[in-house]
Symmetry: C3
Subunit: 667 residues, 3 copies
Amino acid sequence: MKQLLYGVAYYFEYLPYDRIDKDISMMQDAGINVVRIGESTWSTYEPQDGLFDFTKLTYVLDKMKAAGMNVIVGTPTYAFPTWLAKKYPEVLVENNGQRKPYGARQIMDITSPVYRYYAERVIRHMLAVTAKYDNVIGYQIDNETKHYGTSSKNVQRGFVEAIKKKYDGDLDRLNHDFGLDYWSNRINAWEDFPSVNGTINGSLAGEFAKYQRQLVTDYLAWQARIVNEYKHEGQFITHNFDFEWRGYSFGIQPDVNHFAAANCLDVIGIDVYHPSQRQLTGAELSFAGDEARSIKMQNYLVLETQAQAFKTWTPYPGQLYQLAFSHVASGANMVEYWHWHSIHNSFETYWKGLLSHDFAPNPVYNEAKKVGRDFQRLSPKLVNLKINSRVAFVVDNESLTATSGNWMEFGIGKDKYNDVFRRLYDAFYRQNIRTDILNPATIDLSRYDLVVVPMLYVTDDQFLERLNDYVRQGGHVLYTFKDGVTDEHVKVRTCQQPGIISEAVGAHYEMFVDPNGEQLADRSGIFQDVDPTIDQWAELLISDGAKVLAGYDNHWKEYAAITENQYGQGMTWYLGCWANPAVIAKLVEHVCQQVGLVPNYDAHFPVIVKSGINEEQRQIDFIFNYSADEEQVTVPVKGTELLGGKTVAAGEQMTLQPWAVKIIEEQ
Amino acid sequence: MKQLLYGVAYYFEYLPYDRIDKDISMMQDAGINVVRIGESTWSTYEPQDGLFDFTKLTYVLDKMKAAGMNVIVGTPTYAFPTWLAKKYPEVLVENNGQRKPYGARQIMDITSPVYRYYAERVIRHMLAVTAKYDNVIGYQIDNETKHYGTSSKNVQRGFVEAIKKKYDGDLDRLNHDFGLDYWSNRINAWEDFPSVNGTINGSLAGEFAKYQRQLVTDYLAWQARIVNEYKHEGQFITHNFDFEWRGYSFGIQPDVNHFAAANCLDVIGIDVYHPSQRQLTGAELSFAGDEARSIKMQNYLVLETQAQAFKTWTPYPGQLYQLAFSHVASGANMVEYWHWHSIHNSFETYWKGLLSHDFAPNPVYNEAKKVGRDFQRLSPKLVNLKINSRVAFVVDNESLTATSGNWMEFGIGKDKYNDVFRRLYDAFYRQNIRTDILNPATIDLSRYDLVVVPMLYVTDDQFLERLNDYVRQGGHVLYTFKDGVTDEHVKVRTCQQPGIISEAVGAHYEMFVDPNGEQLADRSGIFQDVDPTIDQWAELLISDGAKVLAGYDNHWKEYAAITENQYGQGMTWYLGCWANPAVIAKLVEHVCQQVGLVPNYDAHFPVIVKSGINEEQRQIDFIFNYSADEEQVTVPVKGTELLGGKTVAAGEQMTLQPWAVKIIEEQ
Amino acid sequence: MKQLLYGVAYYFEYLPYDRIDKDISMMQDAGINVVRIGESTWSTYEPQDGLFDFTKLTYVLDKMKAAGMNVIVGTPTYAFPTWLAKKYPEVLVENNGQRKPYGARQIMDITSPVYRYYAERVIRHMLAVTAKYDNVIGYQIDNETKHYGTSSKNVQRGFVEAIKKKYDGDLDRLNHDFGLDYWSNRINAWEDFPSVNGTINGSLAGEFAKYQRQLVTDYLAWQARIVNEYKHEGQFITHNFDFEWRGYSFGIQPDVNHFAAANCLDVIGIDVYHPSQRQLTGAELSFAGDEARSIKMQNYLVLETQAQAFKTWTPYPGQLYQLAFSHVASGANMVEYWHWHSIHNSFETYWKGLLSHDFAPNPVYNEAKKVGRDFQRLSPKLVNLKINSRVAFVVDNESLTATSGNWMEFGIGKDKYNDVFRRLYDAFYRQNIRTDILNPATIDLSRYDLVVVPMLYVTDDQFLERLNDYVRQGGHVLYTFKDGVTDEHVKVRTCQQPGIISEAVGAHYEMFVDPNGEQLADRSGIFQDVDPTIDQWAELLISDGAKVLAGYDNHWKEYAAITENQYGQGMTWYLGCWANPAVIAKLVEHVCQQVGLVPNYDAHFPVIVKSGINEEQRQIDFIFNYSADEEQVTVPVKGTELLGGKTVAAGEQMTLQPWAVKIIEEQ
């Protein structure tokens, strides 16, 4: 990127009246230099089968071009026209034997040849039109694509073919790997393969979920191939990845393997939505940004984030400004709001944009003007920021799936994979330790001083052995309960748990229990004054040489709960129970001390510091106050505070207003 | 009506043995002078297709006639025979593609021509029989009719035809009004019109809900036309309207437009069910009565209310007696229990009648005898009571629908339309200010000193301008948040909110938020010692001249929350946030003072006073103690307490026993 | 039985590798002398239609025989092969019009002729193989059989035929008994009989539930007939009955009439699962054992109970040992764990066995070794224990059904039949009063000093009259609210409640209410210092001579709540409201005093004492401490403590460690 991009999603087609000139003028007042268009208005561009009408699209492109505005064009495939649903009901996704009704977006069967035919045709027609515009800087293929639970007969057929191929037709091996003798589920002939819809076998369900994620990867690659035929030199292809949705971006996306699906993209795009107002912590945009940045180890785009949004999110004064720089501090080269104007009908009427329904300036828009001005001014210093992390998280879709479904009856409990990931992640975030986020297939362990492996329940022997090697050669790993339990077929290992990594962990367990009132007992001084409650999961660890950092306090007091072990040149820690955030904070602090990870600022949440190296090779430190109180921070080096333009002395104490951001360019 | 009616629903067909003579004798002991029969026993009257057997009906009619008892005959169409379901499954309503199974009542497709054919035939046969009885005083057509969510293919077809006609076939206008470009929902040809079942478009869903309510209106009009061919001079047609059901009659009926559906009726009938025992407040029967009375501005019938009913409702001693007069005080000319005897099998076994399953006298029956005696004695003084209200509520089915569905994602929150209506209504009720309840199509604003408009989210420009005119000419309006937001197509207005009424309100808002801990800040002294918590909704009001009565206390302190404005000759108040009942009580008290609405008794809940003018043009004051404690009240004028028969001096202090009622005839 | 059996379910087919020799050796180390095999691996034994392969079965049988291990063989019918589902989808049970998908166990239509054909064939082939093994001591037919809600068309047809036969085709009588005039549900021709799926009529629903339970009885009898053709002299037929499942064995099984279904069995088998760790009370295995023992008045088998099981159940040290003897103390001749080894794939991965997934010895396995050793040693003294109860509970499937469904809208409330049964049962259990559990069809009243009849809502006149006779002749009955309300057609009696038993109860009621804050008022001194709260149900009792033990305290203070009555030579007690456990404990204590039921040990929960007579005609007393604290108990007679082998003097005080068991052989 040549500059920081500041953008909005713009839906000219949704406007109750044509006010594009006024809109562009208000955008430019706010320093907005890019709009995303087109990704949800297929029915406007192709009102009837084969009848194309791109006048609204070219009208917008012409206006934007005239105004010097950049445009990202979305392929319009994630919501499809009424006539297509009427003509070919099979384009509607079938989920567990139920076809979804027409109405919402993201209801297509992404594997349907009919859908593919029509989608390809409208993309080709659209791109033939947009190809003429040099203000188009890139394409977004589809939007927030997932598999939508597709399990129609053709998907089932494809799945069986894929698994048959994978197993070279060897059913005995399949039955063995998946444990299908259980409850008479054996498949003794390929033609007997039952629909996966009713399965209670976690191996089969996990394999099917993996196949469904592959369908998403294939679908995006197919769209990218089409777009590549049209895009010019210098235009990028991106996609708008989203995350597990719990009313906001909570954790790893269960239905897409971002790391695999990203292969067809030039640049990663994401949407990030998060609690705001009193509940704003910055943690969601940090984890999402860390993952986005790690996928290709390069800067990424925030294709969507909230402006006014919901009534619970409308930002307090200062928050919108602060948030724009939060994204940049994570490595974003673009911050784009969803969306420009609030919509006057339908589902997202109360998911508000930068403008309210009255299109008038308002406090949030006015704050965006400040962002735009400072983005423009500081773009040379903040664009293409290089970020180095010494810590990496290993995350894994398959472990997430395997620990979620009811084929894991009586698994961990009410908390799920992403709860575990986030509690660990947030501990590092709050202590200002920067992390990358990768998966077993993509991580280069040797880059990191510390690797964190939360609940890697499903994994093959090779990766666990790589982890052992990494530690042996001086690496550090922080493990949690349920690591290493099953092989890649979701079959529990028959060796002592936690399986292959026991060697590096220096401990094993024969049993695990629900704490049921049992509490943590400090054995090392680390957890002395910390709330000792634990819940949902407790492995009864037996040390084979590991140092016991904590144990249990009552019926299981002979067992260890948290251990530390020297192995070869490196060290491991094993968290054997679902400890509360205070315990995990202490553990992470201890681990970081042992590894020698010391943040450059002596600060912790609500003061968050993130650093990067800019194109001038200068270190940039972003300092955020995620609280409604004034906070103090000591700046460790001489530098310039870029937003205020003032020089800062080394050791100078700086006051942070509520919801403030400061940016120090170190000298 | 010539007298107060006191009645029961009587199901001779359900009796385990014939005891009609004993029943009639016990009814007469209790002063019961009317029974409602016939509305749910089609299968008894037409045991096989075309084979009619009304012997049970005529047996009851003969017995009642001989005993001098009045009868209301229900058309037996709301529950249909097994043979009809077997022969023509299409009479079973189809809801979202699912046909309901046979078993319950109210499971028919009211639009089905087959159903209509059979229903008409049984009605005609039945009325040919009943026409001979002069003790039949009226007919109830069907029972608690609703549309039962009917969305079968023929309903969908009818809907599209209706909308096509309304729009003169102009799809562009429809797409524009309904915002169908959104998520590619555009309809570019009428034959592409998708089923509304899956829609996420609130405009379309609202239009469909309106169409479904019209089906109910049409259905009742059709039955009324048939009955009119048979009914004699002096017989009335009524219908048993019910209300939003939350385990009891809570608020406005979402599925029926009572004001429109009532056109075919001679007299309004309702069912009212409400909490009892410690939870009895009288508020439900008050709002239900106010609405019933307002529809035709005339007295109404309580066709169903509780006797023993559920175990949670079995009245404490005194309550049954008190409640009978509560209905009369709201303008009822009849109080009819559901039902005479408890049923020995099936669904409503534990929805008990006046008699228990043993048919013996019991405490509740014994209390009914007191009611019957006093109804008879005081009938000339209490029948046809005229009630004048200086305050009116404007309620609206379309606003209720639009603020309920998930097409309003992130709308107000857990509380819904009827919560807002009821919290406002109850504040007036508890301060003894009588209200009418009307809708935009039926209200004559000029009749009222004060109009209350809770959450009128959907409305056309004309009505809002009528409200402005009304204020300009001296009227008073109490508005709430979300008033005036969208036009009649559920499209948010593009002008400043609260839209057209901003002019009279003297304030506007650009943003709204969830309070999220923000509290009310008194700015006028009115709310000084009141719990300041608010929740779910807060508009950030900016005064354009209005007096700020309350604001917010923290992040949004520059904005107003409640305003008051002089406009023309009148005044408006605007409640911009979802305030708690204590705040609303203070606001209503303040508004009433400003308007000059002073109740004639200095009393408030739990002492409730309701007045009316009887046929002798005397003012009757009903005084209720809705509590388990003794209460005092000062009678402001000289009069006679009718129940006890004692004279009361002006200024006399009267003691009210727990759950007591007194009736003063003013002199 | 010749000895105490100690067993495990063993799934050789599920093993990830062949380790049978090691398994058998570890079993023998633990004193395990029986394995249950075969009941869920049809697809292994018949991999394709008609192709049988019992090599895995014979391999296990041969190994077990060689090791001198007993085997119980299960017919493999409760989980069926993929090929059968693919070929004949109609074998999948249809529930409310929805066919279950393939995957889980217990998804077959037990009435399907296709299913019956294939099941019979595989049973015959299997038994032809197993018949050769003399180490097979018995057969388990199917497993935890229920009707799975089967309501397919053929079931509906069978039901109508059965009811037509029962009523000799007399529809008028049916309509009358079932109250079908209500809501037009009358059936005027047999061919109009609607599907029961949608019914709101409790009489019809109850009749259908009874019919479904009969299907289970028929199905088991059919399997028993087949097995009988193959089994040898000395081999038994059993079945694994289970109980109402609320995450554990909570109460009477709603879907099976154990008393009827057991007719085809030689010996009763059950599975018992129960809370453990801090939540272990022993109550579940006690009630389940009491029922199992009562069915045939003989010793029974625990075919399944928990080893490690779930994380919430993994036993504390001592509990597994204690529990094994708890079963024996209830009359079990076998304790068999589910299961030997934890499973490595699929649904029950975390329902762990005696061994963890690593097959290594662990603390639970090590404790089993202690059990096995002592079972072997003490078998002659503990096997075939005779147990005599002077108290019996009467339980009833039909009352359970009738008080559960939504055709009982506004019935008792959140608590259901089994809550009432268990609260009463547990009171006796905690006071160390042994009970039998029978139903109206099987109980011989004359055997008992006291009969407890919780919520016998549905019953014919004859049984109520038998109860009156029993009291008249000197018996004692403890009744509860809702006893005797309806006849056998779930039709509420028209006489005074509680109907026919009022005579013996000496009281009646006209009304019942929800307590809604009303509390119990002591009238006898029995309930003086007890929490007086009651909830959900309160009958307003009027004494006709009965002594009032407790009444109500506020609005209903003139009524009785608990009564006692002398009738003939006997006595009755009537509990008219849903009292809390403390009240019920006092009532039970009082009743037992009056009846003269005094336990031989002066102890109560958490110290539980159970006694029986062994084959040497010696009395054996089991003493359990179900708590984490040390407890004391005085041994009333001279004897020997068998586990420790020490003599105990009469009056000696014994200390019980947490979760301990002692066994005294009286001298």
